[in-house]
């Protein structure tokens, strides 16, 4: 310990101090990103929200971020680094940061952590996620009516409950408007890898898919669809409006800004407590991007009606009767899914072919 102090003193004297001393009045907020800020999707939107925090609080808040952090021991180091650098609040924005966040949080009890899409909490760790599946329901509703080949391609990232939930929600609502619809699912095992995503999209298009839904973050599938010419896509995480009005006909937009601003304010006020937030279209955390002119007016109108009913809570995206893939009953007529089942969902609903990888 004395050695530590000595060394610290010596390095200070040598002028090697990293300059990480934050202004006493300034709140420092750190962000750990799984992809590059320019991915045009998931990380891009988290970064937009970071910029919104800066815009909201001005000089009272300083933000820092590290991008493309692998999910594992590297993430743990990056978070520790931020905490050491004086961060008061750290947002860790990928599912795979769950254990690292918990580990680091235990070492820095005075720093608040916010982990996206996970389920482990502590006194100084909150979790937050968005009900993306509500957006998937709207996508499925549009996709089921836009397809002429009745084959919808789906690029899955990792077979975790969040992604499986999205597939089920999209399928149920596509099937509701088009009983002949069929889903082809490709697992990319990545959140962001333009080359792999483009390849997955091409494979699906070759197999006859004329609608591509993606749960990966880059715009590569959009570009693949554009060059194929007659394939419909949806923006993922971000609006991806540059690919509209066709192939991108709508999108799911993650809007983290209000949450990030509220949580930063809570830290500044000293009112921050550990919570679990799971908001959907109603609370504004999930946005449905402009439904483009390529979609016939009546489909657009019914999709917007569906969106509004999800927003005001009059309709739940998982409403029975729904059976599991093996034909066993899951939800009775009129019954809605509980959050616990949704949070750990690892089964397909009836009608989807193939298995959840395990």
């Amino acid at each position: 310990m004395t050695l530590k102090t000595l060394l610290a003193g010596a390095t200070l004297a040598l002028g090697f101090a990293s300059g990480a001393f934050a202004d006493a009045h300034q709140t420092k907020v750190g962000f750990v990103y799984v992809g590059p800020v320019g991915d045009g999707g998931w990380t891009y939107e988290h970064n937009q929200a970071r910029l919104a925090v800066e815009a909201e609080f001005g000089d009272a808040v300083e933000t820092v971020f590290v991008e493309s952090v692998p999910e594992g021991p590297d993430a743990e180091r990056v978070m520790s680094q931020m905490a050491l650098g004086g961060a008061d609040l750290i947002f860790t924005t990928s599912f795979g940061y769950m254990d690292p966040t918990i580990n680091v949080a235990a070492k820095f009890p005075d720093v608040k952590f916010e982990h996206a899409t996970g389920f482990k909490r502590a006194d100084n760790v909150s979790t937050y996620s968005a009900r993306f599946y509500e957006g998937r329901a709207v996508q499925g509703h549009i996709a089921g009516q836009m397809t002429t080949s009745n084959v919808i391609g789906y690029i899955g990232s990792f077979p975790i409950p969040e992604v499986v939930r999205g597939i089920n929600a999209a399928y149920i609502h596509a099937k509701a408007v088009n009983p002949d619809v069929e889903f082809k699912i490709v697992w990319a095992y990545t959140w962001f890898d333009p080359a792999k995503e483009a390849e997955a999209a091409s494979v699906l298009i070759e197999q006859g898919a004329d609608v591509i839904l993606q749960h990966t973050d880059s715009t590569a599938p959009q570009a693949a669809a554009q060059s194929a010419g007659n394939v419909v896509t949806f923006g993922q995480a971000s609006d991806m409006a540059e690919f509209g009005p066709f192939p991108r006909v709508s999108s799911i937009i993650d809007n983290w800004a209000p949450y990030y601003i509220a949580r930063t304010r809570a830290v500044m006020d000293g009112t921050w407590t550990s919570t679990d937030t799971w908001d959907g279209i109603g609370a504004g955390m999930v946005g449905i991007g402009e439904i483009s002119s390529a979609v016939p007016a009546e489909i657009k109108a019914s999709a917007e009606a569906l969106r509004d009913s999800l927003a005001d809570g009059s309709y739940h995206a998982f409403t029975g009767p729904v059976n599991k893939q093996d034909g066993s009953a899951w939800l009775a007529d009129g019954e809605t899914a509980d959050d616990g089942t949704l949070a750990g969902m690892n089964f397909y609903v009836e009608g989807i072919t193939g298995d959840v990888p395990q």
Binding site: T11, R77, F95, Y189, N346, P357
Partner: protein
């Protein structure tokens, strides 16, 4: 006019000087790059190369350097045997994954039994997993003359699929609420590869890396096997006359690199990473190739090169979070290091001559 003249033999001086020159050139060109990005080049270079060692929080970063550097050194030492003998194992990443899977399998199978024997067993299983995975390209090369570069590289992707399948299926944590990933081995005392001295970062993987360096040094400079390895690389024909069995040499070199990569995977999965997860591997097996060459395939050189590479990773993260440097700039810097090394390598074998051409 500047001409290149071939030296009679590789220059001893330049063999040592080129890595240093490459590091210096990387700093200069990197500095220019950072200046173009609008950052203070001196501050950025200092942050990357010195802050992890000498800053206010160096007590936190120094152990991290060990944790990040150890797998690189362990894998690179193994690779250096093969690279010296002209056996190109490009698939250490796959052997690293298979080592982690086999080692973790032993630990997970015995959970929750507590015994001092479990961790040593896991290390053996890890080494076995890496060795067995390396034997695939080895046996194919020896029996059928296939190219070990291609086979070992392709097996990386097979290993990644195995890893995903393990994380999602056989090794999935039964208490994980359906999420992928195994139990956390770091929380299972008999299987955990924890710090040997608190806050030192020192775990068994670092001990193993240091032992490997010493072992490699002694073998290469003092043992007949080291001589045979060097001879095979320099002159396969001469090696034949010296009764070196090329098939045996290929299998031994691939076996050593596979076993060490497998052990590196086991130490990582039982310690810093803690669990088998879909994206457990972060490219140590590939980065170790750079480390091996940066260290001139010499054990001590590899130790230093591993440290330097770890420095750029950790310093790079500090530069990102403190100075707002983009992540890609750090990767560019690491790439530059290998590029400059290969470029200035010409000085080892050639002499630069200034003056009029044509003078013989």
């Amino acid at each position: 006019m500047i001409t290149l003249e071939k030296r009679a033999g590789p220059s001893k001086v330049w063999a040592f000087a080129t890595p240093l020159l490459a590091v210096a050139l990387t700093m200069i060109v990197g500095g220019i790059l950072f200046a173009v990005l609008g950052k203070d080049p001196f501050e950025t270079i200092r942050t990357i190369f010195l802050d992890p060692l000498f800053s206010e929080f160096a007590w936190f970063y120094r152990p991290q350097l060990l944790i990040k550097g150890a797998p690189l050194v362990l894998i690179a030492i193994g690779l250096s045997f093969g690279f010296r003998a002209g056996v190109w194992n490009i698939g250490a990443e796959g052997q690293y994954i298979m080592g982690a899977i086999c080692g973790a399998a032993v630990g997970l199978a015995l959970y929750p039994m507590e015994s001092r024997l479990i961790f040593p067993l896991m290390v053996l299983a890890g080494a076995f997993g890496g060795w067995a995975w390396a034997m695939v390209p080895g046996i194919l090369r020896v029996k059928f003359g296939t190219n070990e570069i291609l086979v070992s590289l392709m097996l990386v992707y097979v290993a990644e699929q195995m890893l995903a399948s393990m994380a999602l299926g056989a090794m999935r944590n039964p208490e994980g609420m359906g999420f992928p990933g195994s139990r956390n081995l770091a929380q299972y005392p008999s299987a955990a590869n924890l710090e040997l001295i608190k806050d030192s970062g020192m775990h068994w993987g670092i001990v193993a890396a240091l032992i490997a360096v010493i072992f490699a040094y002694v073998t290469l400079s003092r043992h007949i096997f080291g001589f045979q390895v060097r001879l095979t690389g320099q002159s396969p024909r001469a090696a034949k006359f010296a009764s070196v069995n090329p098939a045996r040499m290929i299998l031994i070199c691939l076996g050593i690199s596979g076993a060490l990569a497998g052990m590196a995977g086991l130490f990582e999965v039982a310690g810093p990473a803690g669990q088998i997860s879909i994206d457990f591997n972060v490219g140590y097996g590939f980065t170790a190739i750079i480390v091996a060459f940066l260290g001139r395939l010499h054990p001590i050189g590899i130790l230093l090169a591993g440290g330097l590479m770890a420095l750029t990773y950790i310093g790079g993260e500090i530069a990102q979070s403190n100075l707002g440097l983009p992540g890609a700039a750090i990767q560019l810097l690491q790439g530059m290091l290998l590029f400059f090394l290969l470029a200035v390598d010409v000085l080892t074998n050639y002499r630069i001559k200034f003056g009029k051409g044509g003078t013989v």
